[in-house]
Symmetry: C2
């Protein structure tokens, strides 16, 4: 019986709870995995710890109704927790699902959450890129020392298998270079400008209306989200610690309707391409708008769909395309991390 703790119970955290409920019997039948939620910590809806188990359906409903989780807490734990760090120390759990918002500057508090979880002998599973980019080397070493897993499949391309692909399905392969479209918001904006003839501002507004873009869209449109994903891939898959600030970066604010039309006249489309390649003992990485034609699969990657193309020393280019991701697919990445962590252990 694995005891599960959750930090962050927003769209992804709740989608994970629902997915765990949907897959409960399958996990038991196929993998012999049983689980019990013992703790949930949120920034705005309080928290609960209960070693006897928290009803996930009730917790999801509670948060969706705007209520606080406190009523689900075992009274014995009421006084023990002031912040998320206390929560990890106090919660009797074997697995921590960390789903706090990404901090692009230093990865906190996710790095500390993962560190604390590993120190308390939990598997630390996160959808938070900050923890990977700012903590990978240390946290991976700590996980090995503790005999636990630090997994983060959902940090790049949601639930599509990227890190587990290289960890398990591509043994003895060395990554030389990759290219990708890794930021859904900018790709949706570019697609709207092309297909609906919208201006950049109109397309941003549309992306905000459907909940894809943030109120301040700069992390996406200036290429920061893409750069942090590039840094995560380079750090983990190329074994070369790279900070997002070291990724050469240009966003899509300069892509005008005129430029879109010009590309269309050439039979091409603008894409915010992510690229990295080994260069001697280093790695050169960049995020930059580029025109692509129908000779590459990048051309067909529309809207929120994403793609990555890997160049290795053992195969021709290998591309992965994930269509229409959402909180459910991010949640699946976390579920797959959970299964992989406990079946390897």
């Amino acid at each position: 019986m694995y005891r599960l703790a959750f930090i962050g119970f927003g769209n992804v955290g709740r989608a994970l709870a629902l997915l765990l409920m949907r897959k409960e019997q399958e996990l038991r039948d196929r993998y012999g995995i049983r689980f019990l939620a013992t703790g949930i910590y949120t920034a705005r809806h309080g928290w609960a710890i209960n070693p006897q188990g928290i009803d996930l359906a009730q917790a999801v409903e509670c948060v969706q109704n705007g209520d606080r989780l406190d009523a689900l807490c075992d009274p014995a734990y009421r006084e023990k927790v002031v912040n998320s760090f206390d929560f990890i120390r106090a919660c009797p759990a074997d697995v921590l699902f960390e789903n706090t918002p990404v901090n692009h500057v230093n990865g906190e508090p996710a790095v500390t959450h993962v560190r604390l979880a590993l120190q308390h002998h939990m598997h630390a599973l996160t959808a938070n890129k900050g923890a990977v980019v700012y903590g990978y080397q240390e946290l991976k070493r700590l996980a090995e020392q503790q005999g636990r897993s630090f997994f983060f499949e959902s940090t790049v391309m949601d639930g599509a298998p990227i890190f587990s692909l290289f960890r398990e399905a591509l043994p003895a392969a060395n990554l030389r270079a990759f290219r990708g479209i890794l930021n859904s918001t900018t790709n949706l904006i570019l697609t709207r400008m092309e297909e609906q003839g919208e201006t950049f501002e109109q397309a941003v507004r549309y992306a905000q209306q459907i909940g894809i873009a943030e109120t301040d869209p700069s992390a996406d449109v200036d290429g920061w989200d893409a750069a942090i994903k590039v840094a995560a891939l380079v750090t983990v898959l190329m074994g070369y610690p790279l900070r997002p600030q070291e990724v050469e970066r240009e966003g899509i604010r300069g892509i005008t309707p005129d430029k879109i039309a010009e590309a269309q006249a050439e039979g091409k489309r603008w894409k915010l391409l992510c690229q990295a390649e080994r260069n001697g003992s280093g790695v050169i990485a960049r995020v930059m708008p580029q025109k692509v034609g129908p000779e590459t699969p990048f051309y067909t990657v529309r809207g929120t769909t994403s793609i990555v193309e890997f160049q290795t020393d053992v195969l021709g280019d290998l591309s992965i395309i994930e269509t229409d991701p959402g909180p459910q697919t991010t949640a699946y990445g976390l579920l797959s991390d959970f299964v992989n962590a406990v079946t390897r252990a």
Copy 2:
């Protein structure tokens, strides 16, 4: 120290030997895997068994020069082997790489080779689709009983991770449907007809000249190779035993230059699409030429490149594209099977 036996030492077998030599140190350093070739059996170049080890470089050179392998054989084994079955019984080995030509009718002798290898406590790794389509249920059960692996990553899309993806990187995912372009020869023929304006016959001749199509191209152009791959995917990934004969099948002989031009006028391209989907308790599968437009990644899959798009219960559509496969990439699929087999055991 893993002792390796090879049946079949053609383009793929030799590419595997060269890849093993290239990766020897990496396998030792990253996985602690050491190996020694102890047997090679060929249809036209004789065979050799030597418990002290066969020099793979020498064996490759020998076969490439058109010589027989007999000189590399330990004299103590000379009289023990009349056929490939004797070879498996006699060869002291932990792993068999089975690379005989595909038999579309009953999968032999590959099925028997795999069965014998497992009975003799070897991991059985094959690039032969016949063994999967005609033996999967039995051979998988036998492998489990023997505590050995029966792996066949190279049977569909060469070295691209397909079976290992579902086995390891996509836990608790259920495959509902898939679509793909899985036969390189027909895709190359269609691409030549589109881009070079060749007739079907000219394109077939080109594919034969560069060594992609067989002298009798019917297994490819009539869709049999695609159908057997569909049957393998359905059998393994959907858990539904399907014979190639049960796949509704239409090849590309009916695709005329006129039809190509007509599709181009619509902004589309003809592709030999493979499809399967669950239908109640069964599976409906077909191979059929279809027109695809630039809204799908199939449109950009040109020449010998291949693609498969998976529809599961946990992700949006997930596509894998493998560019420019060849004997080296098929060899990598076998190498990855080897690493996965011995690191799981």
